[in-house]
């Protein structure tokens, strides 16, 4: 029996419970105390939608890019170089070749987005590029373009450069494939006059040239 359990009303002490029972509230009085902590997310209502992420397909090849098209590379080490498009690989990247003997661009993968497709085409109808793929092999998890790490031989102190160290990068398979593919591409290129010099040159913008007004 505490003083707060009684209210003084009109000089009379009224028990709290009696007062409460006689009050009319639009809302029912919470008998329980409000909890001290609330979770940040409410209970699952079953109304939220979970959108299943569709597997991202391979990039759609532009209509202007067909086997034999001369492409202008816009980024990277070979920017400005004109190369011959061979095929689209499994990852969606484009397989191109300089040819290597003409402009130093090897069999290389290139993203469609960083390329201008010209309307010039080289006839590479009979070329066999089936050996080149960038789909990783199930067992070895490697493909044609996988990086080859050099085998470093520890010779003497670490400070001195080992003359026996193998060069990293190119496998014999890649070198052989380069020669094989370029043979047919170069033969096709030499059929058109000035095509070889064209592939040798780099693309650049001159004064008064605006890419959005130029036809490629």
């Amino acid at each position: 029996m505490l003083y707060r359990d009684f209210f003084r009303m009109d000089g009379v002490l009224v028990p709290r419970q009696v007062l409460v029972d006689n009050m009319h509230f639009s809302r029912p009085i919470q008998q329980q105390r409000a909890p001290k902590w609330y979770p940040t997310e409410g209970p699952a209502t079953g109304l939220t939608k979970t959108i299943e992420k569709k597997p991202q397909g391979v990039a759609k090849l532009r209509k202007s890019i067909t086997p034999g098209t001369v492409l202008i590379l816009l980024a990277g080490r070979f920017k400005g170089k004109r190369v011959v498009f061979l095929k689209q690989l499994e990852s969606g990247l484009l397989l191109v070749t300089g040819p290597f003997k003409i402009n130093g661009v090897p069999l290389r993968r290139v993203n469609q987005a960083y390329v201008i497709a010209t309307s010039t085409k080289v006839d590479i109808a009979g070329i066999d590029t089936t050996g080149i793929s960038d789909k990783p092999d199930e067992k070895t998890k490697r493909h044609f373009f996988s990086r080859v790490v050099a085998e470093q031989k520890e010779e003497g102190e670490g400070e001195f450069v080992s003359t026996e160290a193998k060069k990293s990068g190119l496998t014999e398979e890649r070198k052989a494939m380069q020669v094989k593919v370029d043979e047919s591409v170069i033969a096709a290129v030499e059929k058109t006059p000035m095509m070889k010099d064209y592939l040798k040159s780099r693309f650049s913008l001159e004064k008064g040239q605006f890419p959005h007004l130029m036809k490629f």
Binding site: V70, M194, L213, M214
Partner: protein, 131 residues
């Protein structure tokens, strides 16, 4: 006075040289007021064009005022206005500009190389003649 007989008159072939129809040919069908005329052509939308936006050629079609588009096109074909205009130096210049605008990358390369070759020959010949 113009150096050739080229007046603004009905049937006069004009070349629009300003705006989105720049470079297109049309024939004056009627004069609306001091600044505009009704012009129509195979590649041009029939409408009122300002004289300031057109250049008058020396070619004229014998048509009457405000003929229908179909009649105009028939007369155009019969007189071969495109061919006539194409033969003039003006027409040839426009054709050359159009060709240059539509060169492909390979063609642009060839032009650059051949131009350099030509200039080299000319320079060497000139040097020869000077000595």
């Amino acid at each position: 006075m113009p150096s050739r007989e080229a007046f603004i008159e009905i049937g006069r072939l004009v070349c629009i040289n300003y705006g989105k129809d720049s470079g297109k040919l049309g024939v004056i069908l009627d004069i609306c007021d001091t600044m505009t005329a009704l012009v129509d052509g195979p590649n041009l939308k029939r409408g009122i064009y300002n004289f300031r936006r057109m250049a008058v050629t020396g070619i004229k079609l014998p048509i009457s005022k405000s003929v229908k588009s179909t009649t105009l096109y028939k007369a155009w074909e019969a007189a071969d206005l495109d061919g006539q205009f194409g033969k003039t130096s003006w027409g040839q210049k426009l054709a050359r500009q159009e060709r240059r605008k539509n060169l492909t990358d390979f063609e642009r390369f060839k032009v650059k190389v051949l131009k350099a070759k030509k200039n080299k020959i000319i320079k060497s010949k000139l040097k020869e003649l000077k000595n």
